[in-house]
Symmetry: C2
Subunit: 325 residues, 2 copies
DNA sequence: CTGAAAGCGCTTACAG
DNA sequence: CTGAAAGCGCTTACAG
């Protein structure tokens, strides 16, 4: 079932079939309709591979993330990443593209086996070799997270420092005077988050109370939460998603009531509706990255582009856990 | 930078380049090495599109789910689905394939623009038209969840009824006599789950205490949790993931201590380490579905195949919330 | 052991 | 308004 069969059945040339089906050329509507009917009747589906080879466009976008650990997708940001991917997938489909998630590296050379119109690289390494390779091949790259010195066509990122300050300000407004920070040492944005916290503490002249842990180590988060509460904070900010249950558990074990004895706020998508949460809005990041990338792809050759940049707003959902009664 | 350039630079024919790079033909190692060196030096990357057109294999697997609501991916199973997709992606990559998530339907005909070697359909509708269309095009299909009367090459599924019974048995063993069930009416597997629960209650001669809610309606889960606890159960089983916080909140508001006054178990991946959870092991489902699919693709024409089937085991993680002190 | 040639199934100038 | 022909970049019989 190729275009030749349709042409034969419709009594026209393959050029006419192609034009009729793609809405191109100058054909009378009668021809167009006739060809479409015949194609439908035969159940003709154009070959995506042939179209891709001929046009040089596959309609496929890549999405990858530099995995710090060997884990597939970092544990500390699983929900964040999953939501980003979900949103990027949906946005790509809206724009007529499909999205394929690829590993930064893999045993098989999957990157070589897939024709990509563009790629989103989440949290690229500095001067990421993968990005350089893609650009050399003419594949546009947009990054999620600041690209550092890696040359990209655009990027999306949160203002991490401002985000941290907004949470700390909120806890302080709610009456906290000794705010502790729980952070995964190997988590994404941990550096910026901890730095922002320390700067805020310095500004206010209050002590920094931090505990860090290795997200990869089972039980490390739980232990760090316990250590942190033992240092007597009256509020705690959990910098990485999914730490709310561990902090709540640690509080319960110490008979600390939330929010009466301890205010609590966490990063994340707010799985627990009683815990104040700071969302990094991964859905926006994913959608915007795709929009930037598709813009680059479809405006190819529209002059020297400045790297496009969009700052993804964060959203603080204040819940019971940080509301003084 | 095509195969012709490499051939010219290496002083051989394109046949030899192709054979050398793909490890085919009978070439002396010296030729092979030489061609590879030249190709590397020129930074040659074979065109995936051309290879796909020529070989009829794209190395791409599709994954789709019938969305009951108009939501992208059902809310009641977001983490389940995300984990299934993550695992399917990783397994596909291990086997040399890439995976692309496609919607059951979309404004653009993305299905027609992507060449797929096979597709996984999660929770297909009965006699799913998409599956029929794919099979007509010669694209093998494996389903996640029982395919009903839809003809597929294989499927993976949990034994939902046995899974529900295992949780109820556990709660009964822990001393529960009035076990309530919280279920999303529009959730996946809700029918089987509720039926399994009622059958278990009938077997034991105990009353069925169920509350259902529409997952799409904000706050409905919270309200249903409250209604359920007001009916005085001494244990509760939450059939859909993510309901643990709502049940814990409802218990707290009623001054019911968990597990002292109320035993609690939930489906899901156990985000809260203090709550007993039944995992459906979506990672296994995703990995196995890909393995079945790749098996079908690579054994094409290996005789009349029975649909391959694998039952995905569930795993009950017993935590504090259902452990009587 | 190596190469010339056909052809995968389209789209797109171009000729009529 | 329509069609014959070229060609996208490979892989694969097949001939030498």
């Amino acid at each position: 079932m190729g275009i030749r069969d349709v042409a034969a059945a419709a009594g026209v040339s393959i050029t006419t079939v192609s034009d009729a089906l793609n809405g191109k050329g100058r054909l009378p509507d009668t021809t167009r309709v006739h060809v479409r009917e015949v194609a439908d009747r035969l159940g003709y589906r154009p070959s995506a591979a042939a179209r891709t080879l001929r046009t040089g466009r596959s309609g496929l976008l890549g999405l990858t993330t530099t995995m710090r650990s060997t884990e597939p997708f970092a544990l500390t940001e699983f929900a964040w990443f999953a939501e980003l991917v979900r949103s990027a997938t949906a946005t790509a489909l809206d724009l007529g593209y499909a999205l394929v998630v690829l590993p930064a590296s893999s045993p098989h050379d999957v990157w070589g086996n897939v024709a990509l119109d563009g790629t989103i690289v989440v949290d690229p390494a500095d001067d990421d070799p993968l990005v350089h390779e893609l650009l050399r091949r003419g594949v546009p790259v947009v990054s999620g997270g600041h690209p550092g010195s890696t040359p990209v066509y655009g990027w999306v990122d949160n203002d991490h420092v401002a985000a941290v300050r907004s949470v700390l300000d909120h806890l302080a407004d709610a009456g906290a005077e000794r705010i502790g920070l729980l952070a995964a040492a190997d988590g994404p944005g941990a550096d910026k988050g901890v730095a922002g916290y320390r700067a805020w503490c310095a500004d206010r002249g209050v002590p920094a109370i931090t505990e860090e842990y290795e997200a990869r180590t089972p039980g490390a988060g739980r232990a760090a939460a316990a250590r942190l509460l033992d240092r007597g904070p009256d509020a705690v900010f959990g910098l990485h998603e999914g730490c709310a249950p561990e902090l709540l558990d640690a509080a319960r074990e110490r008979a600390l009531r939330v929010p009466d004895d301890l205010l609590l706020a966490c990063c994340g998508e707010g799985a627990d509706p009683s815990v104040t949460s700071l969302s990094l809005q991964p859905a926006l990041a994913g959608a915007w990255a795709v929009e930037l990338l598709v813009g680059v792809i479809e405006d190819a050759g529209a002059g020297p582009l400045l790297p496009a940049q969009r700052t993804v707003p964060t959203r603080l959902s204040v819940r019971d856990s940080s509301t003084r009664r």
